[in-house]
């Protein structure tokens, strides 16, 4: 499944489940649909334009009357409602229509029926045998619907296509689950949160998983309490997590400032959604970048990372844990609604090699122990750790000296501010220079972050096929930035940053604004949008071409 949205209304409403299949790498959800199933007239009307000409429309002839003059598609009417009622019988009415259609799709696309049957009984088995039986009746009826002629409309995968060579198993999950397992692998055993879409599924999974590992996850009374609990866990020596989505992150900002001042390791997840305020809770947006980097108060440098796809949600959680411990700092992971719900298959990671030991370090600290040394990275002594001097540290939100005692000395504030800044610059200097995909020099470099990785890659591939020399630079470490970007930018005529946020008052998206401030290069341009949907490949290509043309002509007119 490449995209899912369920409206943020309790009574429900139009939900979208979009699936893309292929034998190679799936980079995007696809610009147009090949196969559309419409249960209702409004779903037909709202989505018929997303079907490619020549595509197949299957509609419930009990509810939908397609436009008879529209001959662009192969329209197939099936009495889905009637057939489901007939198949299931009894008092279930038309419940099971979706399973009927699943059966139909399984037939058309030659899916693995025993596997689907197993999934159905796993999904509904907890309720009653009747429900599983009814579900299978609907499924089988859909599967039995004569539809072989539909099969000829599509490319058939080679039968028995084995998984390619490596012998490694592949796993399928959504981004939130991958991130959750990444946190566990990183050694997270404690955390706290407050429910908000689309973050909630992470906290729900942690609540049921962490007790298996001897830890716990607290549902706090609010967002402020959630980050405070997490910081309490962190102070007590555990790698801890809290998280939320947009507005919830705003509520956590004061405590995040404390975490920076107190140099406390912490992972903070932000599953971004459309904002500001309640905004578009079930749509995707990347408009929290500047909040993640600069939110809170005072000079409060922290680390910000963003995963590029579902597999990377796992990897980035591991990396966030490593950085949080090594640099004793809060680390924000900026994922988004599209990654949260997208299910992807990826190679199963080598967990035995990756698992991090979660135990707090309670070894006695020597006479030279200081919680906030000016010339070294902070390593807190959690309570329970004896201190050889007998002088115990205070972990403080006040500006403090190296022992954690309050200090109003202007010189100390200056030096501690420098320390908190320099440790992140040290981290930045150790990051790898990101690899460029495609042409390593030429016309245009397309820069992205987060979930735009897939569409940008596909767009760059197609731009190159069309004769443009183009490269893709994807930034996973947003703060601090990795080294070497200046050299990469220098090799292209234009650098265009693609992101799902608004161009703001000055015409540049949030990452573009940062990069322009950092590198002071007028050739850095911006491609943004805020329609709540992921970028389409065609959209990126046309806007890159447009931007390049515009910038060239602006350049000429200036001459």
């Amino acid at each position: 499944m490449t995209y899912m949205t369920i409206p943020s209304t309790i009574s429900g409403g139009p939900s979208i489940f979009q699936v893309r299949m292929g034998s190679g790498e799936i980079l995007t959800s696809g610009d147009q649909a090949d196969f559309l199933v419409a249960f209702y007239q409004h779903s037909y009307e709202d989505h018929i334009e997303s079907l490619r000409p020549g595509g197949v429309l299957v509609y419930d002839s009990d509810h939908v009357t397609p436009n008879p003059d529209d001959r662009r598609f192969k329209a197939v009417g099936i009495p889905i409602t009637g057939a489901t009622v007939e198949a299931v019988g009894g008092s279930s009415k038309d419940k099971g229509k979706n399973l009927f259609v699943l059966g139909l799709i399984a037939r058309v696309f030659n899916l693995d029926v025993p596997k689907i049957a197993a999934l159905i009984s796993e999904r509904f088995g907890g309720k009653s045998e009747d429900i599983v039986r009814n579900a299978m009746l609907a499924f089988d009826a859909g599967y039995a619907t004569p539809s072989d002629n539909l099969r000829d409309c599509f490319y058939m995968f080679e039968p028995g296509g084995q998984r390619s060579g490596s012998g490694h198993a592949r796993v399928s999950m959504d981004g939130n689950l991958a991130l959750t397992y990444g946190l566990i692998a990183a050694g997270v055993r404690y955390g706290a949160g407050y429910p908000i879409t689309p973050w909630s599924s992470i906290m729900e999974t942690l609540r049921s998983e962490l007790p298996k590992y001897g830890g716990t996850f607290v549902q706090a009374e609010d967002e402020l309490s959630a980050i405070s609990h997490a910081l309490g866990f962190a102070y007590s020596g555990h790698l801890a997590v809290t998280g939320s989505s947009g507005p919830g992150l705003s509520l956590k900002m004061e405590a995040l400032g404390w975490a920076v001042m107190a140099e406390m390791p912490l992972i903070v997840v932000n599953v971004q959604r459309g904002g500001p305020s309640t905004g578009m809770p079930t749509n995707v947006e990347q408009a929290d970048l500047l909040q993640a980097i600069y939110g809170s108060h005072g000079d409060a440098p922290r680390v910000v990372l963003a995963p590029k796809d579902v597999e990377d949600c796992f990897n980035i959680a591991l990396e966030a844990g490593k950085i949080a411990r090594e640099y004793s700092t809060p680390v924000i992971i900026l994922t988004d609604q599209a990654l949260a719900t997208r299910i992807e298959a990826f190679r199963e990671p080598d967990l035995a090699a990756l698992m991090v030991d979660p135990k707090p370090d309670l070894t006695p600290r020597g006479t030279d122990f200081q919680p906030f040394p000016l010339d070294r990275l902070t390593r807190h002594a959690p309570p329970g750790a004896p201190i050889a001097t007998g002088k115990y540290p205070t972990v403080s939100g006040l500006e403090h000296d190296e022992m954690g005692h309050p200090s109003a000395s202007p010189d100390m504030h200056q030096r501690m501010t420098v320390k908190r800044r320099e440790k992140l610059k040290l981290l930045g200097s150790k990051l790898a220079v990101p690899e460029v995909y495609g042409d390593t020099e030429g016309e245009v470099l397309v820069v992205g972050w987060g979930s735009t990785w897939g569409p940008v890659r596909e767009a760059v591939r197609q731009l190159r096929t069309g004769g443009t020399t183009a490269g893709q630079l994807h930034i996973r470490h947003l703060h601090p930035l990795p080294p070497g970007l200046e050299g990469i930018f220098a090799r292209y005529k234009d650098v265009l940053v693609v992101e799902m946020n608004d161009e703001g008052l000055y015409g540049f998206g949030q990452l573009a604004t940062m990069l322009r401030a950092r590198y002071a290069l007028p050739k850095i341009g911006s491609i943004t949008k805020t329609d709540g949907l992921t970028f389409r490949v065609g959209e990126i290509i046309s806007r890159v071409n447009q931007a390049v043309t515009d910038r060239r002509s602006a350049h000429i007119s200036r001459i």
Binding site: H229, G366, R379, A388, Y392
Partner: protein
């Protein structure tokens, strides 16, 4: 900046009884005459009596005059942000069962900005001891109305006198489910020590409210309960269950309604333990959840658990 050098060899540990000398840290920044000095001195005595391992004591606070407390106590300490010390302390307590967590704060920190957290700390009954040093005024910010300021009290934010009804801390604490609720007075050192020690020994969320005068901005606030200033310090007589006639008149600390009635007595009211109950702590409930879950997974290793989760997603 380089990464951390290898830690020096740990010094051998000699557990020694805690004394005031060992427990004293920075010199308090409070004004001369502040009631908080007496609370601090009492806390040293409480720690001397409790005999906890030094390194397992955590003293923490939020923001306010009284919240400077952790700097003056030589234990592992935390000075957190305004109003959020309870959820932080809950994290410490739930994260580490071997620790003894003491939280100090004022009336603004506890009843105003932190009000919602107080409510939920009580509801969840997380194991910790919370001492509220109530001076009925905002002192650190120089005399604004606090949630316990009496009606008519003149402050910079209520120059004609406070108009909002003050919070009744004892009634509030009993109602939110705090499992140990006591009240004391900073001029009564022995009483304070006894209340704090009993609170510390209580298994659950224990709260002691201590009336602690701000001599700078609310002088004489608690004279009505101070015998040296002509007031009366009335202590709660707790039931001894000795079968005598007078015992039937004594307070049953397990009786929530009786606690509520005591809390509603006219100012300055009474002092002592209003309420205590032995309901399960969140610490116990979470530990129970872990134990039941680990039984189901047959105490598999962390790696085995995660591997089996991945296997299901193949």
């Amino acid at each position: 900046m380089s990464t951390l050098a290898a830690p020096t060899a740990p010094a051998p540990l000699q557990p020694q009884p805690l004394t005031k000398k060992i427990l004293t840290a920075d010199h308090p920044t409070w004004c001369p005459g502040c009631g908080d000095f007496a609370v601090l001195a009492s806390f040293y005595r409480v720690l001397e009596r409790l005999k906890y391992p030094h390194q397992n004591i955590v003293t923490m606070s939020g923001i306010g005059c009284s919240s400077r407390f952790p700097y003056f106590v030589n234990t592992h300490g935390v000075h957190f942000i305004h109003g959020r010390s309870l959820p932080f302390a809950a994290g410490v307590s739930l994260g580490r069962d071997d620790l003894h967590v003491f939280v100090f704060g004022g009336d603004g920190d506890g009843f105003s900005i932190g009000g919602n957290h107080l409510l939920h700390a009580g509801r969840k009954n997380v194991r910790m001891t919370y001492v509220i040093m109530d001076n009925s005024v905002y002192g650190l910010t120089k005399k604004q109305t606090s949630p316990t300021s009496p009606v008519g009290f003149k402050t910079k934010t209520d120059p004609t006198g406070a108009m909002d009804q003050p919070i009744n801390p004892m009634r509030l604490l009993v109602n939110i489910g705090a499992s140990f609720v006591a009240r004391s007075h900073a001029t009564q050192v022995n009483h304070m020590v006894e209340m704090m020690e009993r609170a510390a020994r209580h298994d659950g969320f224990s709260v002691v409210e201590i009336l602690s005068e701000c001599v700078e901005f609310y002088e004489g606030a608690f004279d009505a309960a101070n015998p040296r200033k002509g007031g009366q310090f009335r202590m709660i007589e707790e039931k001894k269950n000795d079968g005598t006639a007078e015992d039937s008149l004594r307070h049953d600390t397990s009786d929530e309604l009786a606690a509520g009635r005591l809390a509603s007595l006219a100012w300055p009211g009474v002092f002592g333990v209003f309420y205590e109950s032995k309901r399960p702590t969140k610490n116990q409930l979470e530990a129970g959840l872990v134990a039941r879950t680990r039984e189901k997974t047959k105490a598999a290793s962390d790696l085995e658990l995660l591997q089996s989760s991945f296997r299901r997603l193949r």
